[in-house]
């Protein structure tokens, strides 16, 4: 009997010891990330039947389990990836937001200074110091554009680096999870028990992985995990891993994309397959905000520089020569996809800077047609041939032949702000004076026809008008214009349709149509009478001089003109309004993201707290357990002492 008591005591001692170790383990790991508290599963040992009844045989420990709620854990993982995505997006956008918050470093002060000094120049057209100031302020404005866009490029580089880092981290986690899968599976199959701490480690890795990318876990077989990332791409299957990798975009060499690597090939993943986590957040930031902001600042640069140049070319400089461009703006960036099979080469140029939008354009050759898609609103135009002009952008095919599904990306404004430069430093070349062209209606005109919008094109400087050009209206032919001298072809554009008439042939008159001859264009409208004439002549020294400020006024007033296009709208904005709209766009988005990311962080905190409430270590509880197991240990010891005492009673029986 005493031996039975002793073995019961020893089982109790053993159970208490295991309890103490487990409590100690819990205390030791109270702050270990991902640790789930462990509990001893204790049961009464199989009782022994002595005929008069079952006598208990003490306690036995059937297992040590971790307290783990799989549903809560899944919630943590999914909330974590959403929260990390918003955090990454919001952190990046906040850097732009902060950059734009500096009112002294924004675009507006530099723009006000530039146009302010132009106003001054208009009042002192021949004053050299004022001309110097205009050039200096133009350079300062360019510097602002360069610096804002340069900062955006840095942010873009940062996104590339972070994507590469995150992909590296994902791959490392994948390997660690796969190797833990292996160990866990082996230890379950050999011992039949779950290795709690290893499983905690693996679950913690899953949580860490979900910070980088949306992660889904499917348990399989003997405690193994299959891990899917993003939009269901297998990353870990049992002991095997698949890699994410980075690749440069086929249409944009400066852009790092995330790709999925299988043994045979590398597939670039679109934004939709990469939702969640830092990776998802960064990609979303780049697609939705960074590209847009950079295009918008580029659009303002193109519109300002382009419209200024156009106006500048209408004037005469201090030496009496036609003005040239003040700003150099880069041509649109056109990239053909590296997957194109045809040899077609596209070239693009900006023909109307005030019609250029902030969108990128995609040109696809499909079934013999050119599909031009404005990326921002997915507006598609189909053309059977090139060249075509879309939103002030001329697209033409210079060489090669297209194959079906050949794909091109055009970014009209992306690099404009960072690469614009000043075209000249000679103060005399500022074209403040007059207009290079003079228009006159014939003195004997009797009809109501009039000439307007007389413009010298960008090629005027290289091929200026040498004499007078005159149009004579002829109602008898009928309704035609004849050009004298008749050495040049005439192009008439009305409602977007252009017709070119060869040199010398009569030109059909359409009221309001734009008539282009060589490097000049004008609009004739109204109802001219038979024989009415309209002439254009180059400005000679006879009608200009040092105090001529006519073009200076027009240049200075560009500031209040509306020259920046808006997508999907016929109205245009001034440069300053376009900039302030860009700032408020970034501000609104940043605000929205700050709110969402805070809400998402709260949700994460709350599911984490629920999980912690169930699985986390509470030191007071462990202190109680310590006392409990300590007392159990003491009681078991006492029992064994009693068993020993009882045995001694038996031994002492004989000695008495």
């Amino acid at each position: 009997m005493a031996s039975n008591i002793l073995s019961i005591g020893s089982s109790a001692l053993n159970a208490a010891q295991i309890g103490l170790s487990t409590t100690g383990h819990n205390i030791a790991n109270a702050s270990t990330p991902g640790y789930n508290r462990q509990v001893v599963v204790q049961a009464a040992a199989q009782a022994q039947n002595f005929g008069y009844g079952f006598v208990g045989q003490g306690a036995e420990v059937t297992g040590v389990q971790r307290v783990y709620n799989e549903i809560l854990a899944k919630q943590v993982v999914s909330t974590q990836s959403a929260s990390s995505a918003y955090d990454a997006y919001s952190a990046q956008l906040n850097t732009i937001d902060n950059m734009l918050s500096d009112t002294t470093a924004g675009l507006n002060p530099a723009m006000s200074d530039f146009f302010g000094s132009l106003q001054e120049l208009a009042s002192k057209p021949s004053d050299i110091p004022t001309r110097q100031t205009v050039l200096a302020d133009a350079q300062a404005l360019i510097n602002r554009f360069n610096s804002i866009d340069g900062r955006l490029n840095e942010i873009r580089e940062g996104v590339n680096t972070q994507l590469s880092n995150s992909v590296g981290v994902v791959n490392t986690y994948a390997k660690q999870i796969a190797s833990l899968n292996d160990i866990i599976e082996k230890s379950i199959s050999t011992t039949g028990n779950t290795p709690n701490d290893l499983m905690d480690q693996r679950d913690q890795l899953i949580t860490e992985l979900s910070k980088q990318i949306k992660t889904t876990v499917v348990s399989q077989g003997q405690g193994s995990y299959n891990v899917f990332v993003g939009n269901g791409l297998p990353l870990v299957v049992g002991k095997d891993t698949y890699n994410l990798t980075t690749a440069t975009s086929p249409t944009d060499p400066t852009r790092v994309e995330v790709a999925y690597q299988t043994t045979s090939k590398t597939t670039i993943l679109g934004a939709s397959s990469l939702a969640g986590g830092t990776i998802g957040g960064l990609i979303q930031f780049r697609n939705e905000s960074l590209d847009q902001v950079q295009n918008q600042i580029g659009q303002i640069a193109v519109a300002l520089a382009g419209t200024f140049n156009q106006q500048h070319m209408q004037g005469l400089d201090k030496n009496g020569n036609p003005g040239g461009a003040l700003f150099n703006i880069p041509a649109p960036v056109t990239t053909s996809s590296s997957e194109n099979t045809g040899s077609g080469v596209l070239t693009t140029s900006i023909v109307d800077p005030s019609a250029i939008t902030s969108s990128d354009y995609r040109v696809q050759y499909v079934g013999g047609n050119y599909l031009v898609t404005r990326v921002s609103d997915q507006n598609v135009q189909t053309f059977s041939s090139l060249p075509q002009t879309v939103d002030g952008l001329s697209i033409s095919q210079v060489s090669g032949t297209m194959n079906n599904n050949d794909d091109f990306l055009i970014s009209p404004t992306k690099n404009a702000a960072s690469t614009m430069t000043l075209a000249f430093k000679d103060v005399n070349k500022l074209a403040v004076g007059g207009s290079v062209l003079n228009s006159a209606a014939g003195a004997g005109n009797t009809g109501s026809g009039s000439m307007s919008a007389l413009t010298a094109s960008s090629t005027y400087t290289s091929s200026p008008l040498t004499g007078t050009l005159s149009f004579t209206y002829n109602s008898g032919l009928p309704n035609t214009l004849t050009l004298a001298p008749s050495t040049l072809p005439v192009t008439v554009t009305y409602g977007g349709i252009s017709t070119t008439y060869p040199a010398g042939s009569p030109v059909t008159y359409t009221s309001g149509a734009t008539v282009a001859v060589g490097s000049i264009s004008l609009v004739l409208s109204g109802t001219p009478a038979n024989g009415d004439t309209f002439s254009v002549s180059p400005t000679t020294s006879a009608n200009t001089g040092p105090s001529d400020n006519r073009n200076g006024l027009l240049l200075a007033n560009l500031q209040s003109g509306n020259n920046v296009a808006m997508i999907g709208s016929n109205t245009k904005n001034s440069y300053a309004t376009a900039f302030s709209q860009m700032v408020s766009g970034v501000g609104s988005k940043a605000r929205e993201l700050n709110v969402t990311s805070q809400a998402e962080a709260k949700a994460l905190d709350s599911v984490k707290a629920s999980m912690e409430a169930e699985s986390g270590v509470n030191l007071d509880e462990e202190a109680t357990n310590l006392i409990r197991y300590q007392q159990a240990y003491q009681a078991a010891g006492k029992m064994m002492q009693i068993a020993s005492d009882l045995f001694n009673v038996l031994l002492n029986l004989g000695s008495n």
């Binding site: 109270a30 508290r37 906040n94 937001d97 902060n98 734009l100 918050s101 009112t103 507006n108 723009m111 006000s112 146009f115 302010g116 106003q119 001054e120 208009a122 009042s123 021949s126 004053d127 007059g434 006879a542 009608n543 001089g545 040092p546 105090s547 001529d548 400020n549 006024l553 200075a556 007033n557 500031q559 209040s560 300053a576 900039f579 302030s580 709209q581 700032v583 408020s584 766009g585 970034v586 501000g587 609104s588 988005k589 940043a590 605000r591 905190d605 707290a609 912690e612 409430a613 169930e614 699985s615 986390g616 270590v617 509470n618 030191l619 509880e621 202190a623 109680t624 310590l626 006392i627």
Partner: protein, 304 residues
């Protein structure tokens, strides 16, 4: 409810961190005096601030242009004032020359006097502005507007007028071409004076020369009157423009004040509210820190 020890620390820390973030934001607002620090704090107001500041800058640049316009017009006005004085004095000399009691020698002296006036007038008509430009030469301001010749003076400027953008919707003429001052309305003041000088230098010897003198003088007096009226008209229009500039200045200053007020409404911080928020935040922070320390001090381990 069961709470893990980690949660106690975590929530304590995160609450204190939030309070610190609020403090930093309030401190930022107080130190800049602005209601918002980044556009995301109030995107609509941030955009409005940019627009209003831009309009304010624009308004100020028109004010600068108005100063130039005013200087130009005042220079013109003062020059035309001198010209008027000269013409009026020449006019009275002309009237006096009609005095039948004057001898040929006396008339010849008057002729010399008027010749001096003519020279002075040509020089005045070739006056330069502060930038060394000939004021009355139109756009061709790098050469003298008038060149004296045997019959008076010929105009070598052009008839262009310089316009300045003195307000958003107003372009003002701030120069007058010389031909419009001295040779308008059918009266060329240089020719008039030259004729009269010649006339006074021609001795009256008989009835025919007397008649020629009388009719020539009458023509000259008429011409001179037209010329004086002409100059006075130009001066009047300059005066009207200067008045207009004054009222545009007033309107501009008014707008500037309005812009300042709008900017202040949009971005200025309510200091009382911000300072009170900050002190409230400090009190809460203090309590949060103390209670955090107090709660975390409680542990069963202290008793075993």
């Amino acid at each position: 409810m069961r709470i893990s020890t980690n949660t106690i620390y975590q929530s304590g820390i995160s609450k204190i961190t939030n309070l610190q973030a609020d403090q930093t934001r309030l401190q930022g607002q107080i130190s800049t005096g602005k209601r918002f620090v980044t556009p995301s704090d109030d995107p609509v107001a941030a955009a409005r601030v940019l627009e209003v500041s831009h309009n304010k800058d624009l308004n100020n640049s028109y004010a600068d242009v108005r100063k130039t316009a005013q200087t130009n017009l005042e220079t013109l006005e003062s020059s035309l004032g001198n010209i008027t004085n000269l013409l009026v004095s020449a006019q009275s000399t002309l009237v006096a020359a009609g005095n039948g009691a004057y001898s040929n020698a006396e008339r010849s002296n008057l002729g010399k006097e008027l010749k001096n006036s003519l020279d002075a007038l040509v020089s005045m008509a070739n006056a330069k502005d502060a930038y060394g430009n000939y004021m009355y030469a139109g756009f061709k301001s790098d050469a003298p507007a008038f060149v004296a010749n045997a019959t008076g003076a010929s105009y070598s400027g052009d008839s262009n007028v310089q316009l300045l953008q003195v307000d958003a919707q107003r372009q003002m003429e701030v120069s007058v071409p010389g031909d419009a001052v001295f040779q308008a309305g059918g009266a060329d003041v240089f020719a008039t004076l030259t004729n009269v000088v010649n006339l006074l230098n021609t001795p009256i010897t008989n009835a025919a020369t007397q008649a020629a003198f009388t009719s020539g003088l009458a023509t000259a007096i008429d011409g001179m009157k037209t010329s004086v009226d002409n100059v006075l008209n130009v001066r009047a229009s300059i005066g009207a423009k200067l008045n207009e500039l004054d009222s545009l200045n007033l309107a501009g200053q008014d707008r500037d004040l309005q812009y300042d007020k709008t900017l202040s409404n949009l971005q200025d911080l309510d200091y009382a509210a911000a300072v009170s928020d900050l002190s409230k935040n400090q009190t809460i922070m203090d309590a949060a820190q103390k209670s955090f320390v107090a709660t975390t001090k409680l542990s069963l381990f202290n008793f075993i």
